[in-house]
């Protein structure tokens, strides 16, 4: 297997009131082509930062070190590049950094103070609207190179909250078609036809009328299906799902997980599945990476991690899981009473 993505010594720091907060500390990780990798961790572990950095979606004020190599086109020699988001944000003028850092000042507030508030929320909140459209343009104009993955074309990204990642005033069909139009160079009618096919593939009931529906007319699970359709519209090699099922109830979560599993298998995509739930991750992934306080503490095959965790923290996470076969706490308490 070849590595689709190879992350070396990646560190991300946020600055807040002159205090640096390290969200990731020297993480090295290979994502193999075609694999399903789960990244798990609790709030503040840096799991979402890792996903965002991989997609080049980190907010401007973040200080990024290390490399992310993308080897999507196997015939070209892989070339090391700095994580993409650094390029447009830092190069133009030093003054820009100051102001964008100030902008994210409040955004990183939660990280500094709460400590256990997840990194995802303030950052995701700063991101522009659509699932895979917005952030791409600025970079594609600067670099037309195949070695730098393009969000939307090479990487599909699914956020936790579909109601904020979808544009509330655009029909969902158009939002999906836009991705195909932008990245595949299809005409609008072809793009819309593709959108309809995608809505069928994500099993939205009545795709024909769903094309013209607005996000508020759909349920939470349906919106997430639309977000997934938009994420895979340009046929990306890598699909990143960042807590994509956490806002949904158990039954809808199971449906979305099986949808992701099916789509990844059908299209031969590589999957990076970010979750706080080790049991959920285990049902979907082949390998699990465990993050804690910004460090990668364990990485391995699902069975190995679950049956023979090497790190005490992984064992803690496994023991803390309350499954349907766990010994009820009530009994434990009753015995001691």
């Amino acid at each position: 297997m070849t590595a689709l993505l190879s992350i070396r010594d990646l560190s991300v720091r946020y600055r807040r009131d002159g205090i640096e907060v390290a969200a990731l500390k020297g993480v090295s990780l290979d994502v193999e082509a075609g694999e399903r990798l789960a990244i798990i961790g609790e709030s503040g572990s840096g799991k979402s930062t890792l996903a965002l950095a991989t997609a080049g979606l980190l907010a401007g004020g973040a200080g990024i070190g290390g490399t992310i190599d993308w080897q999507a086109s196997q015939f070209q020699t892989p070339r090391s590049v700095a994580p993409p988001s650094v390029l447009p944000d830092i190069s133009p003028a030093r003054g820009e950094i100051g102001s964008s850092a100030a902008g994210s000042l409040a955004a990183t507030q939660e990280i500094g103070e709460g400590g256990d508030d997840d990194l995802i929320s303030p950052l995701a909140g700063e991101m522009p609207g659509r699932a895979a459209g917005g952030a791409t343009e600025r970079r594609s104009s600067a670099i037309g190179d195949n070695n730098i993955p393009l969000l939307g074309r090479d990487i599909g990204f699914v956020f936790q909250d579909p109601s904020s990642s979808l544009d509330p005033v655009m029909p969902v069909g158009k939002q999906i078609a836009e991705v195909a139009h932008t990245h595949l160079g299809l005409g609008w009618s072809q793009s819309l036809a593709r959108a309809k096919t995608l809505l069928e593939r994500v099993r939205l009931p009545d795709p024909e009328s769903a094309l013209r529906a607005y996000p508020h007319q759909l349920s939470g699970g349906q919106k997430q299906r639309v977000a997934i359709a938009a994420a895979i519209a340009a046929g990306p090699k890598l699909l990143i799902a960042d807590e994509a099922t956490s806002a949904l109830d158990t039954i809808v979560q199971a449906e979305i997980v099986s949808l992701i599993r099916r789509l990844v298998a059908e299209d031969g995509m590589t999957l990076v599945f970010v979750s706080h739930d080790i049991a959920l991750a285990a049902t979907l992934a082949e390998r699990i990476a465990v993050l804690r306080h910004g460090e990668l503490i364990e990485l391995g095959e699902v069975h190995r991690i679950i049956d023979a965790p090497r790190h005490a923290y992984t064992r803690t996470l496994l023991d803390a899981h309350l499954g349907l076969d766990a010994e009820p706490l009530l009994d434990r308490q009753g015995a001691s009473a």
């Binding site: 609790e42 400590g115 449906e255 496994l318 076969d325 009530l330």
Partner: protein, 259 residues
């Protein structure tokens, strides 16, 4: 003897002119020091029931009997006084507190409102409450937004027990917490139940958690009771369609080696 008896409770909302039953003819009882869980998918009416029981919403029909007396007939000052016995812990501990509040103020309010302790006595009571939920008394001076999520939920529990209630409604109270923190909070709740004989109405979408801490469970679907019974019996062998679907959808960790 029951702490809470809910019978034939109904609540309808209007959406686009047509009535939508959020809660439809729901009945259940909770005994002293008992945990009754409400489970179900989103939109099944769990949280609406919590708000009806707490009189944050008014039902369209049905009866709520709390500690042997009609709870729905109370109003004004008598209702407010009665609230001391019936408390709540919310899902998101950050949203559940005034963003300007300090830990001390959050705990001072119930003591002051219900005249539980004099002004001079209250700081000592607040310290005792914090220690009761496993927090350092020095935390009192901190702002709510400065402490961690787990600490906040402990403060929420301290606030709920400040008035010595007989029933606490826990509305997804551990859902937003990290798993490692969740276990400690559940242990704390069970410990309080044992020591103070508090009953819980435990609302959760997570059958694993329910099975671990609840005595009985009511599974709801579209506002109606689908099935109910002893928690472990129902979850291990669900009879209703929705019960089976919920069990099937719960992620399972098949560990082959014992921990």
């Amino acid at each position: 003897m029951t702490v809470l008896a809910v019978s034939k409770l109904s609540k309808r909302y209007r959406r686009g002119g047509k009535p939508l039953a959020a809660v439809d003819d729901v009945s259940f009882e909770i005994g002293p020091a008992e945990t009754l869980a409400l489970a179900g998918p989103s939109g099944s009416g769990k949280s609406t029931i919590a708000r009806l029981v707490l009189r944050l919403l008014e039902p369209d029909a049905g009866r709520i009997e709390f500690e042997g007396a009609d709870f729905l007939s109370l109003s004004g000052a008598t209702l407010r006084a009665r609230r001391a016995r019936l408390q709540m812990v919310f899902q998101d501990p950050l949203a559940a507190f005034n963003p300007r509040a300090t830990v001390a103020r959050v705990l001072d309010d119930p003591l002051r409102i219900h005249g539980i302790a004099s002004r001079a006595e209250r700081p000592r009571r607040i310290a005792a409450l914090l220690e009761r939920v496993g927090l350092d008394a020095g935390l009192a001076a901190r702002a709510i937004h400065e402490i961690s999520g787990g600490q906040r939920q402990r403060v929420a529990i301290a606030r709920a027990i400040a008035t010595q209630p007989s029933l606490i409604v826990l509305d997804e109270a551990v859902s937003a917490l990290d798993v490692s923190v969740r276990g400690q909070i559940l242990e704390l709740l069970l410990d309080l139940q044992r020591q103070e004989r508090i009953s819980y109405l435990f609302i959760s979408h997570d059958l694993g958690v329910i099975r671990a801490v609840a005595h009985r469970v009511v599974i709801l679907d579209a506002g109606r009771v689908a099935e109910s019974g002893e928690a472990r019996a129902v979850i291990d062998n669900p009879q209703s369609t929705i019960g089976k679907a919920l069990v099937a959808a719960t992620p399972k960790l098949n560990r082959n080696t014992p921990p």
